[in-house]
Amino acid sequence: MDLINAVIVLLNYTIIPALTYGSQLALGAIFVTLIYGILRFANFATGDMMSFGTMFAVLLTYYFQSIGINFGFLPTALLTIPFAIFMMILYMLIIDQTVFKYYRIKKSPPVMLAMVSVGVMFVTQAIIRIIIGPTDRRFLDGEKFILKATEFKEMTGLAEGLTIKSTQMITIVVTIIVVAIMFWFLNKTKTGTSMRAYSDNEDLALLSGIDPKKVVLITWIIAGILATIGGILYGLDKSYRPFVYFNNMLPIFAAAIVGGIGNPYGAFFGGYVIAFAEIFLTYAYKRFLVYILPESLEPNSLMQLLSTDYKFAISFSILVIVLIFRPSGIFEGKRI
């Protein structure tokens, strides 16, 4: 019995939150990695682009709520996803045409493009703050919980409760669907194959008749879908605040590089590596240990390796360690 209780504690406080957070990071990391693999630059506007897509979802949710449209027990925000994605892709294509295209054709070094993306970051932040402001916004409606702690306790008769928030379930399910479709697209369709070819060797791809404009267009469309969905899922689970989204860029970068930048599988995996590391290293194991250890060995302290203040610092340290010992990432990077 104690063992089951211990497992429930771990599930409730570490594994489920880590899976959720990891999914959100993974979507962002695949976005970073796609841009890096195909357009060949580190996009410092990542966090703000995700924020931009989410902003439309927030505004549309408020609008839908005001005219009485809802999605039953699911959050209304899910209904707004297609519109938000459309706006996001539109914005990305405008930015690409006005800003990035010039440097791509000139074949500027990647650093130059990264610098330009810093400029895009400033502009995007300004637009977001002018439209929606910097305040914290919650836009979750519908059922909050799938399983409540008290219900679970009654059902099983265990001492520990298991809570599953609906946003956690939605995040995991939506991520699986989106990522599965994307991998199918990259591996099985002709367009996907041409994208991978372009990423591997641009000149060879051009020789074999792949249209670079089409590849770039499709890349931005996929990036827009990933960025918007990732942003909305994060916003539903926590809350929407432009500054937080900007900061999220850093663990997302860490996830992409840890997995091997340019490699979508690696990015997907890297998201979970970062999330699990952050949560496992900052979780206070006292309650878990109380269940599995004999009474004489019960710990007095919280049994916490690091305080939760260092959550971000952990992911960055992992990144630094990976960069020193295996700069190409856990999976071989620069492949798509």
Binding site: P110, M112, D309
Partner: protein, 456 residues
């Protein structure tokens, strides 16, 4: 002289703009902007040495600035004897352990061949060291933080003159740069950017959350100042006499004696804040000029030519027998140290240390915009970039407000769009700086004052 004509024109325009602020807003604001421009200029000089001379991209400026600020606290604040009594021995032991760890790791790296055994040994040292530190420091930290937490709760500093901390800030930053450089300098340019940014975040989060060191997010206020305090000036007769002499014409217009006294009091208050800021401006100017002379001499020395050669063609420079790795590390340390000095200057100017305010937006990306806008590889350009971008950053809100009012003049005061726009005026600074950066990168990628290569 003709070579310097565009530089002189650019600087004159900048000075003219600051004087305009002085006339239209107030001299106090103008001097605040000027001082911050100068601090930004020092940071930009540091970043420019790394990027412009050597092509190294350092997005970790935030971390070095924060370390410079930390140096001010650790050097100038008076020590807290109570905290030292309860936790000093333990903290010093931890410092000893860390130093021991570093030296034993170095010893192993030098004397044992590259193998799994070496890796395990190093990992073992680090893990044992960390556990020891956690055991020894844990209780001590709690006790230190319990000492009068509203006012102190930290070890305090050394109580030395605050100007000394500018040098220490540079040394701190150089130390961090040495570690970062050893770890990350082999990486490709954009990886290096991300790695330095993330390491800076780690540094800032340590400063933010280790309360025993510098009170963390509780901030340290009332730091020492190398300039006189306003209150003291307002009561010292020589200063009042000076103000009286300066404004005698204005004072003579007063009708009665009491009115004259009122005007004089107001003038003294205004003048005292201007005087203090002038003192700071003088000190900063000295630092900027010294740095400018040194960097300028370095740029046109054989060493500067070697750095340019390394930047433009690493392989060729390496084939000529130049030690690229060593030079990269050296210049990385040098540039970071200058940024550290700027961080210390900034905290001294503010008189308070707020770790929570170190954010990548303000202390990394804006500084980079300054470097790019001013002119990479040109020190005059870097300083000008610091001035121009900081000026825009501060004055963007008033300018935006002016234009919003101009374009929405026909709308009623209660119009929702107008109210919303006026409320979001502060965010136009991001727009202005971002568009500025994009335009410069597109149409003048070498910056306002481009690099000039003197033919020998």
């Amino acid at each position: 002289m003709r070579n310097y004509l565009n530089i002189i024109i650019a600087y004159s325009i900048m000075m003219f703009l600051i004087i305009l602020v002085g006339i239209f807003q107030s001299w106090s604001i103008a001097l605040t902007i000027f001082n911050y421009c100068m601090i930004s200029a020092v940071m930009t000089l540091g970043a420019n040495i790394q990027w412009g001379y050597a092509g190294l991209i350092n997005f970790g400026i935030m971390g070095y600035t924060a370390l410079g600020g930390l140096a001010v606290v650790l050097v100038s604040v008076a020590p807290v004897p109570e905290a030292w009594r309860v936790g000093g021995v333990n903290m010093m032991t931890c410092l000893g352990i860390i130093i021991l760890m570093i030296f034993s790791t170095r010893y192993i790296l030098k004397n044992i061949q590259k193998s799994n055994k070496r890796n395990y040994l190093i990992a073992g040292i680090i893990i044992v060291g960390l556990i020891l530190i956690k055991i020894i420091a844990g209780p001590a930290i709690e006790q230190i933080e319990a000492v009068d937490p509203a006012k102190t709760g930290f070890l305090g500093g050394l109580g030395l003159p605050v100007l000394f901390s500018w040098i220490v800030g540079g040394l701190f930053a150089a130390g961090l740069a040495f570690i970062v450089g050893k770890v990350a300098l082999g990486l490709r340019a954009d990886y290096l950017a991300i790695a330095t940014l993330l390491i800076a975040e780690i540094v800032v989060s340590i400063i933010k959350h280790e309360d025993w060191l510098a009170r963390g997010v509780k901030n340290v206020i009332g730091l020492k100042r190398p300039a006189p305090y306003e209150i003291d000036l307002q009561t010292s007769p020589w200063f009042i006499n000076l103000v009286e002499k300066f404004h005698s014409a204005k004072l003579d217009l007063a009708n009665s004696l009491s009115e004259r006294q009122d005007i004089l009091n107001q003038l003294v208050i205004d003048a005292s804040s201007v005087y203090v800021k002038l003192c700071f401006a003088g000190m900063f100017l000295v630092v900027v000029i010294i740095l400018l002379i040194i960097t300028q001499k370095a740029l046109y020395s054989p060493w500067g030519r070697m750095m340019r050669a390394i930047r433009d063609n690493e392989e060729a420079a390496s084939a000529m027998g130049k030690n690229v790795v060593k030079q990269h590390l050296f210049i990385f340390i040098l540039g970071s140290a200058i940024v550290g000095i700027a961080g210390a200057m900034m905290v001294t100017n503010d008189g308070l240390f707020t770790p929570g305010s170190y954010r990548p937006m303000r202390y990394t990306f804006v500084i980079w915009v300054m470097v790019i806008v001013g002119g990479t590889g040109n020190n005059f350009g870097a300083i000008l970039g610091g001035f121009v971008v900081w000026f825009l950053w501060v004055e963007a809100a008033p300018i935006a407000l002016f234009f919003i009012n101009l374009f929405t003049a026909h709308l009623p005061e209660t119009n929702e769009i107008k109210v919303h726009l006026i409320n979001s005026a502060p965010y136009f600074r991001f727009l202005l700086v971002g568009i500025g950066l994009l335009l410069i990168m597109r149409f003048r990628p070498q910056g306002i004052i481009p690099e000039k290569i003197v033919k020998q």
